[in-house]
Symmetry: D3
Subunit: 280 residues, 6 copies
């Protein structure tokens, strides 16, 4: 497992068979993100995506106070976005900023690109990048008293790491989503659950982590051919017409249904035994 | 009405003027689907779509125990998906499987392709294909204690008859939908109602059928030009940009507004009488 | 402000700094729309969009009884849709109708085209065009006893001014939306809130207007670069793939992040002062 | 082969191994199309698509004078388009016409839907539907003195069976295509070849048929897994982004590359022998 | 016709029945564009689009020396693009520039938006905006010795008024188009004809204008229902899938085929007479 | 420049200011591709894309005999595609193949992803991957006697590295392209030029390289802000509607027009001097 050691600010453990637990691990700074930490988050998920021993991933923030407070503005002050290099040509700065955003987006999109389900667990302060990360995850759980904010408007910018792109597509009231995005107001975990942003709400972080690991174990025990195909097909279809979604699905399953997992799963169903599936 | 006789496993009756009631009719097998039964479902809806005496359709499962338990695995064991014909070339099997999926998708998509509104009524066991069928319908009602499951992951495959394609587009929490699809867990009719998967929840099948027929009668009494146009325009727009949706709508209504139904409907509104609309 | 005087049927006031209040102002006719009134609504919003003194807009109906009862059928009887000019060729009438729909759509789409957030406030009768207008707005509030109806089916036509195009995209249960559209049934403000059509529900119009102005003031105090970018990026992404949404966002912010608003907003955040942003 | 007997107006022969030759066979009427003949053309290609003995199809017109002169207006005079049933409501007529166009489009799209390459051979008069059919084919050959016309404008309508849909996508000068479509002017086979509408031009029908059969034999001797995959991937990509095209291609070949045809083809290439591929 | 008087820099005449001739009319400046002239070009075409007496439009440049030399840089020096207002915030300047580009694009897109065919005639110097305008037209003719250049790279910018958007869609070699756009090199009218950028090439401007008026007269004599439908359907399909193109076409013609123009055109065809079509 | 040393099989030189020359450098094997060589090609172009000293890239094959003969089948025999690991589950093999294709596609797409123009120079044998690479380049030149083949069908598969995805979008006759792809027939450089696949044809490799370097120098002397923007906007628009292309263009240039390159370029144009542009 040394492949996951030494990823700074990101701790990865394996609490159950085929289940990984990723923690944003900078609790003394409320898990605020530096550029390096974004890159490492992407790196971690790109590796987990390829690691055939991993079938479901739980993502949480270390410490009691925050999932993440978002961008570490102090640490980012030397980067292309916030530095005011007076000599710089506007077009060249624009290109640098665009590349910088592309990189951060690429890191966060690693959660969506990851072929295994990702369950994001939000507690405490969950500002800015916390929402970008949550909406790039498959499943969102939260603690009732967690405090969310699409904070970007409060620092003079439109969120650009995925929040505005994915919010219209996660099945929450668009009226609610727009008010939250325009006002940068804080909303609680309880509210997040009520509007469907999160699908389960818990009383404490401990209870949430425990429940998430249970869900992850259930998912990890299923055929990985089936689960990873399900993720790929849902996300493909979300962005395209029903017609294109159906066609892609048929092409995908033309190979996937030839897996021996189907036979194993069906036999186990009939015999009431627990199947074991090969790595994928 | 002999056009609807002898469609094996599918019973069609006409409980009210311009209203058809389709029943999955293999109750002794929990209305499980054979390949032939899928084809017949498609056949029935393609005929109903063309039948100008029909303006709204209610779809339910016969018997007390199930809407449908999904694919009849035993009956399907000789088909291209589950047979392991050892001589077979992988590419040729892939092509056969793809064609088989295309056919089943085509049968289920008959509900969406049908030009009249379809109200799906789920009760009891509603597994696998039950969800594919429900999401291809326009309106979903269910009984509080019905038991739903996106069951496919449990038999080693990603659902490929429409569930994964349409789930991201029916206005339910994507976090909730993904957890249901990855875990194949059972969720109740009560939960289906709470998250918006179903729009109404009832205490019993009897109560549900009665209410659905009331709704169907209301819809069937409206101008068929108006109702069928509404379905066509909603589904077209769902898959495209607002701009394309508006353009298509304008082209559609350029002809449809010339119908005499507009005059009739307005006159009836003023006179508080019940209009009669010609066949469509 | 004479730019907004003499827009017949539309009253525009400025109740707070950078906040405009638009009122449908034909209360003696339940704010029913004539063709001229549609054009004026579009005109008003196109002007507000360009007016750098305006940063958030509240839209409501004058009087106690209605947001709007929809199209004024009497006043429209001489137009291309409802007149039955017997000499007319069907294709030529179709073209005239299409142009007429295009124009009305263009007027209503002014709310979406407007670069500033629009909060629609529905009370009393909110029929037909009321829903077209509400779904073209960013945020929807309503009064609990307001009475909504997608009324078009009742006058023999499919809604063509945006309701059917935008309903599948605002994060409400598609099953609920289709039943409402097919049946033209009345639903209350309370129900609108429960399903997410409206994001807040109030006891009275007065209370709602007050709350909306509070929200508008909050939004108007934020950086206009940030808020208007947020609207543009949310709506662009809604209609496209996540991949396209992210790319467009990066190109957009490549320029926008060079604004001095970022520095001002961050400094104010640190100093706990209230920032002042330049016009946009 | 009795599957292809008795398809009225369509003659099907098998001049070489795995090659079918379809002829429009109503030479005494310049191969003009009745509604029945359109249906039969679609029927023939849908059957050929499923017939594993067929790997490439040549399509030509019987007789010396015409590929086809297009729609047989006399025979169509009782159909929904040209009849003027005075009682009829405009919306109901519109629906009937739309369904009629859908059916004719569906018949002609059978050439694109057909999983095997189709080579259309145009000679003599090639008007109206001739162009719809040609652009729905994969490969177009013609005789130098054949006379083409996008004739529809001359009978008061915009071509609706595929010409206007596919012309912008076949790699000819859009300026040339629009002039041809607006003016309904006649252009020769020589011109068709020069602008890339047809890829080969011949002196006589006999020479053209002979050359097309040679091409068809070459294609039919290749792996059908490879050839049919090539058609599917080209047409999918034509309508979508490069990114989507690449993704679909990868999913497709994930199964197809597991075919034994790859091994056979490579071995034959090394040994300079002629491979034999199993049916598909 | 006073509707077209006093459009500065744009001269409009009516050389034949139902044919308009638009001339860029600033020959002393090589027909270079000021911001006002762009707006007037858009205004002219928006009016021509609605003018039922006009059925085909020819567009050329006044004088012997140029179709247009492109943007009048001198006259534009005070505008938002080229002024360097040092106080200005980058984001605010970006928004102003974006709005300015939107406006110019909107003016040029009037040619594509215009419901009637537009034939662009290029002679002499045809730089920058000349190409933007040509590719937004339906049909392109040119003089052999005209000199084209996608000039924008030479003034430090990527062409943003349509050239780069429409070049990949007009059926010319993409390799050729990219070299022309990257290098800003001059290419002759003869070359433009050879690669399909223009569909006809002439020896002199006089000869070209005469031929274009002949083409315009042919087109203007056809049914306007048919011709304008042809333009609408070609351009809609160009940007969408074949499937969507076919569907839109069927909906369009459901109304348009009910025109009396079909009967008139067919009768004239049989009787060899010249039909007269009503205004559209 | 050590960044480009030691990229096995890929030689990179800098024959002129801001111009890179990439050579496929395995001439003793006809520049056939191993998996490593594909990866290195992608690596090279991803680095060149970020190297601000490079503004235009020429790509050719080392030696006299071939641009490239395509995949080195011998060297690939141990990879996931061609190995027949009998224990392997079909779904797991499918996933491995899909990932392998994704990787190779990603390497070749580096040419399109590269922000600078790429000129591909084809000579001698140009089979299989040669065409994938050529169509992913911006500009294609070739030698008259070079021998092209879309060779994949001859080894039992549909081309999956980009040929079938990009061929429908490069402005060549679709009829010609399909015949070439189905038949795997050899076509000459002369034919490639005639149909627009290549935009220039030369007598010898030497002459071609010389001309390409001239073109590259011309492009490299232009503003890199302008040239790279041109590439980005052309490729974005190719895959989307005209409307989306125009909008993206406006957002892009909102920042890019603020570059000082515009002022420099215009000043140089007026003064007839040669401008010097800063790195990008």
């Amino acid at each position: 497992m040394s492949n996951y050691d030494n990823i700074k600010f990101i701790r990865i453990t394996f609490p159950a068979e085929n289940v990984a637990h990723v923690e944003l691990n900078r609790p003394e700074k409320l898990n605020a993100f530096t550029t390096e930490m974004f890159a490492n988050l992407g790196l971690a998920f790109d590796r987990l995506s390829k690691d055939s021993a991993v079938r479901c991933i739980v993502l949480s923030g270390a410490g009691d106070r925050a999932f993440t407070s978002g961008l570490d503005v102090t640490a980012s002050s030397g980067g292309p976005v916030f530095s005011k290099d007076s000599d710089d040509d506007v077009a060249r700065r624009a290109r640098n900023i665009r590349h910088h955003i592309d990189e951060l987006q690429y890191s966060i999109s690693a959660l969506e690109r990851c072929e295994k389900p990702v369950i994001a667990l939000c507690h405490g302060i969950s500002f800015g990048a916390a929402v970008d990360i949550a909406v790039a995850s498959d499943i969102r759980y939260c603690v009732a008293d967690s405090r969310f904010s699409i904070k970007e408007v409060d620092i003079g910018l439109a969120a650009d790491l995925g929040t505005l792109t994915r919010l219209p597509k996660i099945g929450v009231s668009y009226s609610w989503a727009k008010e939250a995005a325009y006002s940068a107001r804080i909303f609680s975990g309880e509210e997040a659950g009520r509007v469907g942003f999160a699908s389960r709400v818990f009383k404490s972080k401990g209870e949430m982590v425990e429940a998430a690991l249970e869900t992850a174990k259930v998912i990890a025990a299923k055929s990985p051919v089936a689960v990873q195909g399900t993720k790929a097909l849902l996300d493909f279809s979300r962005d395209r017409s029903v017609e294109d979604g159906l066609r892609y699905t048929a092409v995908w399953n033309a190979a996937m249904l030839q897996t021996e997992d189907v036979g194993k799963a069906m036999m186990s169903g009939l015999r009431k035994t627990k199947p074991t599936f090969e790595k994928l």
